[in-house]
Symmetry: C2
Subunit: 253 residues, 2 copies
């Protein structure tokens, strides 16, 4: 069987997130459904990670195994013809037979977009969190930086992010930057991995800090203060997923 | 009674156009419905012109009369609070009591956006016509210019654009320009007025020319050749509506 790696972009607005759920539209569900047509058999798709309901992706990575010998260029076209227009396959390529988009990922980058203009354009409404109220933005820029390094993010995980295996919630943040781009306050974070709701909770806390309600993130990280409000999904984009290019393509594990 | 002029922006995707229709979502209908709440009485809204189902507006102009003494700044806010997020009031201001957004308009500008990239991003899908196939774009740039001046646009009007009063279909085009902006082929046209489907029929004919099917627009204008395919509404934006600033504000007619 062939192993295919796809890079895809989606507008998450009308989906209940990545992961298949019975009777609800999901990204994984939409892809598995059209692959079943192409393969004439059930196809299981694995993603680099789940995105929550309403979260978008500029370049999510996923993989699946296929018997159909269709060339990858034609597979891309066939998938885009069958998929709804809010999910687009950017590329499909042959991968090592043991390629796993989640376990093999070495880093992920997310971006959160906050619109600071007084009015939110109808054309942006699905893709930004509109926050036109006063904020000490320089305070946000400064605090965002303090998240770089290794931290236990337990206090920034969703309340229901319980891990039966008791795995560590320590994550390494390679870069964490807030900046102003025109009318937008953009928070971009690149890290080894992310817990459920982690980016949206970080942004929630940064906004609280910008309002003057929080002096530093340490008490928040220590869980001494309960996490602030989770900001809306619509402002969040999975920007990219990275893999080690030196990893031997078909090494057994 | 006060006369209020509003400038508004909308994403036309989920509407059956500007004009009120029973049991169908329309822009005019949405605005009249929330104004009825503010005024506690029926309010009739007049637009600078109708936009078709699926057509967007960056800055449409409309007007209505109101007894409610609410300051315009608060009216803007109240309207935006009550309206769905795909319609935004950009400004509300006091106008001459006889201000009529259609009869008083001196020019309108429309823009049509064609995406030339191989894949249409999920985030653009509602706002462009995706045409990744070969086109002689320089031919389109050249022909677009030939529309400037005064022409009888009968052949570019919708088949059902019949005028019981037999009014002229001559319109003056002040500027007509196609250009390439990154991955986008943009057609922008400013004129004294536009017939139903006129811009979309012009773009349809320009695309035919780009495919090498039409040498000039004269035979098309003369109606010797039936109008080409009307391009999809999703790529069309009403950019702005102009009024004579020197016109005395409250002159009776």
């Amino acid at each position: 069987m062939r192993r295919i790696r796809i890079t895809l972009s989606y507008d998450g607005t009308d989906y209940n997130g990545w992961q298949v759920q019975p009777d609800l539209p999901t990204i994984q569900g939409a892809i598995e459904s059209i692959l079943a047509e192409i393969e004439s058999a059930e196809v299981k798709v694995e993603g680099s990670g789940r995105t929550d309901a309403g979260v978008h992706a500029l370049a999510q990575v996923a993989a699946f195994s296929l018997n159909n010998p269709i060339p990858t260029r034609n597979l891309e076209k066939a998938m885009n013809r069958l998929l709804p227009r809010d999910i687009r396959i950017l590329s499909a390529e042959e991968a090592a037979e043991n390629f796993h988009p989640r376990f093999d990922a070495t880093a992920k980058t997310y971006e959160y977009r906050i619109l600071r203009a007084p009015i939110c354009s109808p054309f942006e409404r699905r893709y930004v969190h509109h926050h036109p109220y006063p904020l000490d933005e320089s305070r946000i820029f400064e605090l965002a930086k303090t998240l770089e390094g290794e931290h236990d993010f337990t206090a920034f995980a969703a309340a229901d992010d319980t891990d039966a295996l008791g795995r560590s919630k320590v994550r390494r943040i390679f870069s964490s930057t807030a900046s102003r781009q025109g009318d937008h306050l953009i928070y971009q974070v690149r890290g080894s991995g992310f817990l459920k709701h982690m980016v949206r909770n970080i942004v929630g806390v940064l906004l609280e800090a910008g309002k003057g309600n929080i002096a530093n993130l340490e008490s928040r990280l220590k869980g001494a203060i309960p996490p602030g409000p989770t900001v809306p999904a619509r402002g969040l984009f999975l920007v990219s997923v990275e893999y080690d290019p030196r990893k031997p393509p078909a090494a057994p594990r």
